[in-house]
């Protein structure tokens, strides 16, 4: 860690870990409910559990991205943040808004639109909060000693993510129009601007960890994000097949979304290639493992499993079934959860001065979480394909099908146990690192 203000990143990471823990807990509630044990229904009905699960996910990833930005930007710009105190204000207000939203979900206070459940009054607070964040990051880059492609792409991704929150706040009366705008947020985030954020963090990590030439790394970054937008923007059409929008989206969405895996494929090839090219032998092996793992699993989860149901002929049958949940889990995990975890693994030894990254616990966390998540994906996949066949092909009643596939949720919960033990190990290792230390400022160890 070179600069004092990078320390704030630690607290964003800590918030991330907390929300991650809550997310997993509520995941189990839903897993059990699907198995037929909805004993908590009176207190935490399924829709509450789900809103907490997915909103915790989005919040911990955003908190991770913000922490990443506060860590990376001073380093790339070679200066302190323009106003470190304000960064703490932003952190605390972000946490408060998040906690209010999560509590509200338990009292039927929400907007009830998938992934955008946060109630409207809180949306305005989110906007203010993000404005502060963008101001801090943008201002720091503005006054920077040097401009790097990595920092520009990261900033651009964060700025666009903030702007794209706004279409989700439009008031609508028609379910079709509502859904149309909802995808501007959900799709253009995960299959657009978040990929910029991910690509930039990945490029930063690879430059640091493998010592690859910056020129080469950043050229690749442009090619990858170029493919992302080229396919991803019009690829939004794969959500406009069956919601009451014109038929031409079947062709446009089908063709362009089918190209989306290219960006993820590019990322995977790039990471593996750079790992072999790089001359540097960085001691933080686990950070490299998470980075390469991220590039590969994001291709599997987002690219491959996304492609599997993106053509309109297939999507007609899989639309709105557990097949989507299968894809959603591995895509979010591989692309965004893993990139945040990779950066945390890289940053922690620098922030705290403790060299725990290659500990047995850290290695166990990596394998257990990833193997567990792949098993969960398989469980969701089998349940999903069975559901599609029985419900959409054979025409059985929804609830009859659900009792038929209950057993796969036993599989899911068992896989989730493997997954969670890895996650707990990771969080425990995080705690063991302790707090950031001032003695680390200016230290070059583990850079």
């Amino acid at each position: 860690m070179k600069y004092n203000s990078q320390k704030v990143a630690y607290w964003f990471f800590a918030l991330s870990m907390l929300l991650f823990g809550i997310q997993i807990t509520y995941g189990f509630i839903m897993g059990f409910a699907h198995m037929g044990f909805d004993v908590l229904h009176g207190w935490i009905p399924f829709n509450t559990a789900r809103a907490v699960h997915t909103n915790c996910l989005v919040m911990w990833l955003l908190s991770g991205f913000m922490g990443a930005a506060y860590f990376i930007i001073p380093d790339e710009c070679e200066r302190e943040l323009i106003n470190p105190k304000l960064a703490y204000v932003q952190l605390i207000s972000f946490a408060i808004v998040g906690v209010i939203a999560l509590i509200g979900f338990h009292f039927n206070w929400w907007e009830g639109r998938k992934f955008l459940e946060i109630p409207r009054p809180l949306d305005y607070l989110v906007v203010i909060n993000v404005l502060i964040f963008i101001y801090l990051i943008g201002g720091t880059i503005w006054k920077a000693k040097r401009y790097t492609t990595t920092s520009i792409v990261l900033f651009f991704g964060l700025l666009m993510a903030a702007l794209l929150y706004l279409p989700g706040m439009l008031n609508t009366v028609s379910q079709t129009v509502d859904s149309f705008w909802r995808w501007w947020v959900v799709h253009l985030w995960v299959e657009g601007v978040w990929e910029l954020i991910m690509g930039a963090i990945l490029s930063y990590l690879l430059i640091k960890l493998t010592g690859v030439d910056r020129e080469i790394a950043e050229k690749w970054l442009y090619v990858i994000v170029g493919f992302t937008f080229l396919s991803g923007i019009l690829g939004t059409g794969h959500h406009y097949y069956y919601i009451g929008t014109p038929k031409y989206w079947l062709i446009i969405g089908g063709v362009f979304s089918a190209l989306e895996p290219l960006a993820f494929l590019g990322m995977a090839i790039y990471a593996v290639k750079v790992k072999n090219l790089g001359e540097r032998n960085h001691p933080n092996k686990m950070a490299l493992a998470w980075s390469i793992g991220c590039a590969i699993l994001s291709f599997v989860g987002a690219g491959f499993l996304g492609f599997a149901h993106t053509l309109p002929q297939v999507n007609l049958y899989t639309h709105g079934t557990l097949v989507t949940a299968m894809h959603g889990h591995l895509a979010f995990w591989g692309a965004y959860a893993m990139i945040v975890i990779a950066l945390i693994t890289y940053a922690l030894p620098q922030l705290t001065g403790r060299k725990l990254h290659d500990s047995k616990l850290g290695v166990f966390a990596f394998w257990s979480a990833n193997i567990g998540m792949i098993m969960m994906t398989i469980a969701f996949g089998i349940a999903g394909v069975a559901q599609v066949y029985l419900e959409r092909k054979l025409g059985l009643e929804f609830l009859s099908v659900q009792s038929e596939i209950e057993v796969h949720f036993l599989g899911l919960v068992l896989a989730a146990l493997v997954f969670s033990s890895g996650c707990i190990a990771f969080i425990w290792n995080f705690v063991k690192h302790g707090m950031p230390r001032d003695t680390q400022i200016g230290s070059k160890v583990y850079e």
Partner: protein, 228 residues
């Protein structure tokens, strides 16, 4: 080899061009949505229904137009499939309509609010969704269905099938028994009493009083007694 500058040009040009196309298509889509969704039928009541649907996060358990959660039935065609009466009873007491099954939240809606939600579901059901939900193309029960007597009252599909099965369709695992052959099991009088008020015939039964009117009961009884 590609230079960094041309890589950047590729990124910027690709983004600008596709985003331009996306905006043009968005404008065109907004011109076509009103016709495709029958916006002229979108009544005040249906709009209130949409807001109730959002405020209570029904999408947190159900899918609608294929979006939402995968825990409860897809609601796009529920109005067509079950009818207003069933939905109304569902919104009054879900446990009564699906005893012992997966739980839905019991809401305290006013009569007006229930009508609003029904109006909303009716409107959604009429949108042209380019073929979604798909017709089950491997459905096997077609043939056994055709062995059933003709003129089936529509209420059987709407209401009874959520608890009973008949000719291989409907709920296979209860809570009610299959209705095949009830005609030989019970006489007309019994069926009439049963449908008017199951509780009176068999205290503590799980079949709810569906508050059917006399004509419907007559129609049902004459149909059921043909199921030999």
């Amino acid at each position: 080899m590609l230079s960094k500058k041309s890589a950047r040009t590729f990124f910027i040009a690709g983004t600008v061009i596709t985003f331009g196309c996306f905006i043009v298509l968005t404008i065109d889509t907004f011109k076509k949505i009103p016709a495709q969704t029958n916006q002229h039928n979108l009544s005040e009541s249906a709009i209130r229904g949409k807001h109730l649907f959002d405020q209570n996060n029904c999408m947190g358990c159900h899918t609608i137009m294929g979006e939402g959660a995968y825990y409860a039935p897809e609601l796009t065609k529920t109005y067509e499939k079950r009818g207003a009466k069933f939905i109304e009873m569902m919104l009054t007491d879900p446990e009564k309509m699906f005893p012992g099954k997966r739980k839905m939240v019991k809401y305290n809606f006013t009569a007006q609010e229930k009508q609003d939600l029904i109006a909303f579901l009716k409107w959604v059901g009429e949108i042209d969704l380019n073929g979604f939900p798909p017709k089950p193309d491997l459905q096997v029960s077609q043939q056994s269905v055709s062995n059933l007597p003709g003129n089936q009252p529509s209420i059987i599909q709407d209401m009874c099938m959520s608890c009973h099965s008949l000719g291989g369709q409907g709920s296979q695992e209860g809570p009610g028994p299959a209705l095949d052959g009830v005609g030989s099991k019970y006489g007309v009088e019994y069926l009439r009493r049963w449908l008017s008020n199951p509780e009176e015939v068999k205290p503590g039964t799980e079949m709810p009083n569906l508050e059917l009117d006399k004509e419907t009961i007559d129609e049902l009884v004459s149909y059921l007694s043909k199921l030999k």
